[in-house]
């Protein structure tokens, strides 16, 4: 190992380490411990009861379903976009490439407002769809749109660098062995891309679970219709129903942990065959 110094710790090492531990402990570990402790304070029975309250339960189900649906869409669109950006050349490509990151830079409330302006009941597009009986804003499609917008960069940027780094000679080797373009894509390219595609999907999923700012503007937040978990929790906090807020919050929190854990495994897997 590189650190072969004497085992006695110099103050120059101890101070930064303590500072780091303190900072992380104070800002990350303590809050998580606090909320978990509070949630379990009333006992396991009580916690499950709170989680299972009809309004909150519906919100959770809706959130998970939407996040999953969205992750699946992103797998296709993100990979397709990354492919086009890496392999094709067309006018305004640099412009488009730069804009992919816009959702990262724009505040979520602004996203919500943009979507309302564009697809709300008073807009040309929105009113057109309303006549067909499809409500975009203040209903589920609006939420999906918002989520698609804010998670799009995750889906593209996870795949793009891996695609760029892929050595062309693997594909050429497959060509010389007689493989058609489709075979090459499914048997050579896709397996190599799979960890990064799944990473993008997991990141999208995780972000979608917790998204608040854009949804609160776009969704109308109608319980049992368009109220997602984060909005429900907010409502409960404002109404001082701490117990029910805790229950749902803890579910979201632990889902985040699981996704993080999954992402870690993905990372290890993608490096397994590298050398």
């Amino acid at each position: 190992m590189k650190n072969n110094r004497a085992t006695a710790l110099a103050p120059s090492e101890m101070i930064p380490r303590s500072l780091s531990l303190f900072y992380i402990g104070f800002l990350i570990v303590l809050p998580i411990v606090a909320i978990t402790a509070e949630a379990f304070k009333g006992g396991l029975q009580n916690l499950f009861h709170q989680i299972a309250l009809p309004e909150g339960l519906y919100a959770l189900k809706l959130t998970f379903f939407l996040a999953l649906f969205l992750a699946l869409i992103n797998i296709v669109t993100g990979t397709a976009t990354a492919w086009v950006l890496v392999r094709y050349s067309f006018p305004l490509k640099t412009f488009m490439n730069a804009l992919i990151d816009i959702p990262f830079a724009i505040p979520t409330v602004v996203t919500g407002i943009m979507l309302v302006v564009l697809y709300g009941p008073n807009s040309p597009i929105g009113s057109f769809f309303e006549k067909q009986g499809i409500e975009i804003i203040f209903n589920k499609p609006g939420i999906i749109l918002a989520l698609l917008f804010v998670t799009f960069p995750f889906a593209v940027r996870s795949v793009q660098p891996v695609l760029m780094e892929m050595e062309k000679d693997m594909e050429e080797a497959a060509q010389t062995l007689g493989a058609s373009r489709a075979t090459i894509f499914f048997r050579v390219i896709l397996p190599t891309l799979l960890p990064s595609i799944l990473t993008g999907a997991a990141l999208s999923f995780s972000r979608a679970l917790g998204e608040f700012g854009s949804i609160v503007i776009v969704a109308g937040n109608i319980p049992f219709k368009t109220q997602v978990a984060s909005v429900y929790i907010y409502g409960e906090i404002e109404s001082a129903n701490i117990q029910s807020a805790l229950g749902t919050a803890v579910v979201l929190l632990f889902s985040s942990f699981i996704v993080l854990f999954f992402l870690n495994i993905l990372q290890k897997w993608s490096h397994k065959h590298e050398r």
């Binding site: 050595e167 693997m170 050429e172 080797a173 060509q175 010389t176 397996p191």
Partner: protein
């Protein structure tokens, strides 16, 4: 006509002519080297034969068939890449099986073939390994097995030893020759290493700047180079400036002369004289009319021989001296001696010889 035939192939990248009207033929069962410095177009030629690049003009024939318009998938070739291009996410077995699975062979056939090839390339026990768990030499053998599995008519290797270290290279090169003798597939391999080409190829095609300079076996190319380029690229060579006269050749900067007429170049011409270091003999006294005075500049011990740097006139040359010869009468730096050339070739000096000098410098043969 079987084997490989390339006819008047030209390829440009923009304004740059990478391959310039190249034609050659490889007999069935031959192992041929495409030898040239980097940028000479040799890899491009190979890739055109494979179909990985499309030529602007010309034709390619494989085992008598015109494959010029066929994609690589359809040409039934085996290709080994410089950096192996193994499928990282597949085991050794699956890599080798790939070409067979494409051709829809049944499972038993595939298993049999894999076992055969694993045995051939001596990778028994490594079937379930992944490329990341193998050494460079092992990966190259997998690449070879994979290319040979679908029984291609033609085997193409693009600098197969380029990324390996010297010892592994030598062993692998010899081993490829032995393999080739066993399976007799028409093969072309690209290399910039002339000693490698000379060691294992039946025939050498020397390429420079997109053109074929000479085709012949090792001794033809080494002993009878057809151009300055070939003479200096294949093997080590000293480049000496001089001038032809009626009855002798004069060396620039010295009174020494070679009392010989040469038929290669007319008299009264500026010339370059190309002599291999092993053809430079050092003597303490002038033995013949053709002995040229020289000064010893440096002596290097090379293990199996001595490398002696001398200066004749305005030229610096090297001589390879056998250990016994040196030990019987060791010279000292600064000593005045004479040199004799047992063999040499003469070419007209033109701007060409400056180019040779530059190239030799680049290759590290001269300072």
């Amino acid at each position: 006509m079987s084997g490989i035939r390339v006819e008047s192939v030209t390829k440009k990248f923009g304004d740059f002519v990478a391959v310039d009207d190249v034609s050659f033929a490889v007999e069935e069962g031959e192992l041929v080297a495409l030898l040239g410095p980097s940028g000479s177009g040799k890899s491009t030629i190979l890739r055109i034969v494979a179909g990985l690049e499309t030529q602007d003009h010309g034709h390619v024939y494989l085992t008598g068939e015109d494959v010029t318009s066929l994609s690589p998938q359809k040409r039934k070739i085996g290709f080994v890449f410089q950096h192996y291009a193994l499928f990282k996410h597949m085991t050794v077995e699956k890599n080798i099986a790939f070409g067979l699975e494409i051709r829809k062979k049944n499972k038993t056939q595939i298993k049999k073939k894999i076992a055969e090839l694993i045995d051939l390339v001596k990778l028994n026990g490594y079937e379930k390994h992944y490329p990341s768990q193998l050494s460079g030499g092992q990966r190259q053998r997998v690449a070879l097995a994979r290319a040979l599995a679908p029984e291609p008519k033609v085997l193409l290797l693009d600098e197969p030893f380029g990324s390996l270290d010297a010892k592994v290279r030598k062993n692998l090169a010899k081993w490829i020759r032995q393999l080739h003798d066993r399976i007799r597939v028409t093969s072309i391999f690209v290399t910039h290493d002339q000693s490698e080409a000379m060691e294992i190829a039946d025939k050498i095609i020397v390429v420079n700047r997109g053109r074929v300079e000479q085709i012949g076996n090792a001794s033809e190319v080494y002993e009878h180079p057809k151009s300055k380029f070939v003479a200096s690229f294949v093997g080590n060579v000293n480049v000496i400036n001089g001038r032809t006269y009626v009855s002798h050749i004069a060396i620039e900067g010295t009174e020494g002369r070679i009392s010989q007429k040469t038929e290669d170049v007319p008299e009264d011409q500026d010339i370059v004289l190309l002599v291999r270091p092993e053809e430079v003999v050092i003597e303490e006294t002038a033995s013949k009319d053709s002995s040229i005075p020289a000064v010893i500049e440096e002596i290097h011990y090379r293990g199996s021989f001595y490398e002696v740097d001398l200066r004749i006139g305005a030229n610096d040359i090297k001589s390879f001296v056998q250990k016994e010869r040196y030990k019987s009468n060791p010279w000292t730096v600064g000593e005045h001696v004479f040199v004799l050339f047992t063999q040499f070739k003469v070419f007209e000096a033109s701007e060409g010889h400056q180019a040779i000098h530059r190239m030799l410098k680049q290759l590290g043969y001269i300072e």
